[in-house]
């Protein structure tokens, strides 16, 4: 495989990874845009989605063994989405809403607490071991030019693109989208204009959770494993992506997600050569953190964002 072929392969992998990060980042950025809160528990909502889908798939498969894989995948997503949405709405109602006017530290610490609670509950329900997520679509490699892909990875890219387009249409063209933009800009005036901020905030959390559920199912499909801790690192990286694109900025989250995926994939692929063998691809996670620090220090408003990171 020539070096250009490797490059294309890494590019494709980066696109897959980036699509996942973009989906999760959208949840972070929308919530931050409206309530100025980093929803620490977002990654764990993803985890709950993946594990719920796993259980649903296992259940349906035991009832109807003959069902084709893609139907099981759809069923899994249809099971994960309402669970995640309800969970996210409950979290917002119980843990975040009472603290909306509290000093900055309080909601963040609560979010950390909720994150731990979700992980613990997942540990109790699904156990501590890594569970295998079945490969539901055909695992046969498809060759696109010199790169080798699987149908699952193609689905990730396609589905994410569709969802992102749908979200943009929602935010730009519908009444709810207009209400969301208005509340993000100025909740009080939006209230005077007839927008119910609580309802809009709840809707934001719900949409973010639905996206996370889909992302979780896709993430588990691509990596074939799911466990109670799987949401932490993708969540953190997706937050980096959101910051990279400009937090509070929806197209920014999409751009940031894809870009971060590409940086990570290309970086992990080439770091061996670049560092003369000192650092290997096991340092892959470090890339996201370095990007995070670099963005926050050098360009806090992100690539597409107008908001500045100087918040008290």
């Amino acid at each position: 495989m020539g070096s250009f072929d490797t490059f294309l392969q890494q590019l494709f992998n980066g696109l897959v990874l980036g699509s996942l990060y973009a989906l999760i980042a959208l949840g972070y950025t929308m919530v931050y845009g409206i309530v100025n809160l980093i929803n620490f528990a977002h990654g764990d909502v993803l985890m709950v989605g993946a594990l719920t889908a796993l259980s649903a798939i296992a259940l349906v498969h035991s009832w109807f063994p003959g069902i084709p894989g893609w139907v099981l995948l759809v069923i899994g997503m249809l099971a994960a989405i309402p669970v995640c949405v309800l969970l996210s709405l409950a979290i917002e109602r119980i843990a975040y809403r009472p603290l909306r006017s509290a000093p900055r530290l309080a909601p963040l610490i609560t979010a950390i607490g909720v994150s731990i609670l979700l992980q613990t509950l997942a540990m109790i329900i699904w156990g501590r071991n890594q569970l295998t997520f079945p490969s539901l679509l055909s695992p046969d490699p498809i060759a696109i030019g010199p790169a080798t892909v699987t149908s699952t990875k193609l689905l990730v890219i396609a589905l994410s693109a569709l969802i992102m387009i749908g979200l943009l249409v929602l935010v730009q063209r519908t009444r709810l989208g207009r209400a969301m933009r208005a509340t993000a800009e100025n909740p009080r005036v939006a209230g005077l204009m007839g927008v119910d901020p609580n309802a809009v905030i709840a809707a934001t959390f719900a949409i973010g959770a639905a996206l996370a559920a889909v992302a979780g199912v896709m993430y588990a499909s691509v990596y074939s494993v799911a466990d109670f801790y799987m949401g932490f690192i993708p969540g953190l990286k997706a937050f980096t992506a959101a910051v990279l694109g400009g937090i509070g900025n929806i197209p920014g989250a999409m751009v940031g997600g894809i870009l971060l995926g590409l940086i990570e994939s290309l970086g992990a692929g080439y770091i061996d050569q670049l560092s003369g063998g000192v650092f290997g691809s096991n340092y892959q996670d470090v890339f996201a953190f370095i990007v995070l620090c670099a963005v926050l220090i050098l360009r806090p408003s992100g690539l597409l964002g107008e908001r500045v990171a100087d918040r008290a």
Binding site: R104, I116, L117, F289, L296, I297, R311
Partner: protein, 385 residues
């Protein structure tokens, strides 16, 4: 004379002295009582003392200076690995040049370890603090979290191409603490009592913890402490008052980190073994929940939170297991899981219902306990002569 009247008649200084003596006696006797219940409890006490030091260190960063640090455990790791590298066969096994230079192996004595651990950790604190000076709140939290994770990833992976940290397997065969000729790995006879190694460690850690408390109390009332609280309350006003915010913040990170570094060295000596697993995000969150639960910025509250959250899970572990067996016939919830559940619930509930912690600092300007608040507009007999 009634006891209450006697107590009230004593001056605050005498009261404080009496409280100190009482606490000192309790601290001295505690491991002996715990030892009777079992060695595990003495171990718990020793860890409680370590956590008190950690909590006090994080309190400097988060409580005094208002800088939310979610990667604090990295400094603990730095301290632990510093001692591990300098007092174990790890370096001499992997670097023949060092083995030749130190034929008896590397065994750093304790009086060198503590300052070294403190200063190296402080260096890392400055390293973390320097780039994040203008970040606040959420962003600072995430970046410090990332820093903690980076340290852990490096510790986990620095076993190739040169084996520095031995990767996920960790470093073993770390020396125990040695004071003079006394080595802390076997029991010692003292004043007719047989003190086990665990109890010796407890006394050392308790002494260090008391020292830390004294340092923090002095820091709190010093110019530096007041500068920290000024930037916590309003950074711009503090700058306007002439406080060098950059240096003050760096000092907060450095001093907080040094507490973590010293605790880390002690931890490495105590356990004899370190691995990157002990320094995960969860540990940072645990220390954070101790100070949040106890009372952010209030030293007695922080100590209370640290002791509560390090002892209570052990009590739970010993009580809940058999209880679950009795009630349900099997263990539904593992002790470890229960511990995590406790921390999560504690964080959420505290923030919702007692955001200042269980033992918060008394409010400035509030009427002192016992004085009668007559309300606005009331005329007392002394107002108008």
């Amino acid at each position: 004379m009634k006891p209450a009247a006697t107590l009230a008649a004593l001056s605050p200084r005498t009261r404080a002295l009496a409280a100190t003596v009482l606490i000192g006696m309790v601290l001295l006797v505690l491991p002996l009582a715990a030892g009777a219940l079992g060695a595990a409890w003495v171990r718990t006490l020793a860890f409680a003392a370590l956590y008190v030091m950690l909590a006090l260190g994080l309190n400097i960063v988060v409580g005094f200076a208002g800088l939310l640090d979610l990667g604090y455990i990295a400094f603990y790791a730095v301290g632990a690995y510093t001692f591990a590298l300098l007092a174990s066969p790890q370096l001499t096994d992997n670097f023949p040049a060092l083995a030749r230079a130190f034929p008896d192996g590397l065994h750093l004595p304790i009086w060198a370890v503590i300052p070294l651990g403190a200063s190296i950790a402080a260096g890392f604190g400055v390293l973390l603090g320097a780039p994040v000076l203008k970040l606040r709140g959420d962003y600072l939290a995430i970046v410090t979290l990332g820093f903690g994770e980076i340290i852990r990833i490096f510790l986990n992976n620095l076993n190739a191409p040169i084996n520095l940290t031995n990767g996920p397997q960790g470093i073993t065969l770390i020396d125990p603490v040695r004071i003079g000729t006394l080595s802390f790995n076997h029991p010692v006879a003292f004043l007719g009592l047989e003190l086990s190694a665990l109890q010796l460690y407890y006394y050392l850690f308790a002494a260090l913890a008391v020292l830390s408390v004294l340092m923090c109390v002095r820091l709190q009332d010093s110019r530096l402490g007041r500068a920290w609280m000024a930037i916590r309350e309003d950074e711009i006003a503090a700058k306007a008052m002439g406080i060098n915010v950059r240096n003050v913040k760096l000092l907060a990170f450095a001093l907080g980190a040094s507490f973590g570094g010293v605790s880390g060295t002690m931890f490495a000596a105590f356990q004899g073994f370190v691995s990157p697993e002990s320094f995960s995000l969860m540990e940072s969150v645990i220390v954070l929940s101790m100070i949040v639960l106890g009372g952010l910025g209030h030293i007695p509250g922080v100590i209370f939170g640290a002791v509560l959250l390090s002892v209570f899970p052990e009590v739970l572990r010993h009580g809940v297991g058999p209880l679950q067996e009795q009630l349900f016939g099997r263990t539904l919830i593992d002790a470890e899981v229960l511990r995590m559940l406790l921390y999560g619930v504690a964080l959420v509930l505290v923030m919702l219902y007692r955001p200042k912690g269980l033992w918060p600092a008394p409010q400035h300007g509030a009427p002192a306990a016992g004085s009668v608040d007559t309300g606005p507009g009331a005329v007392t007999s002394r107002s108008f002569p």
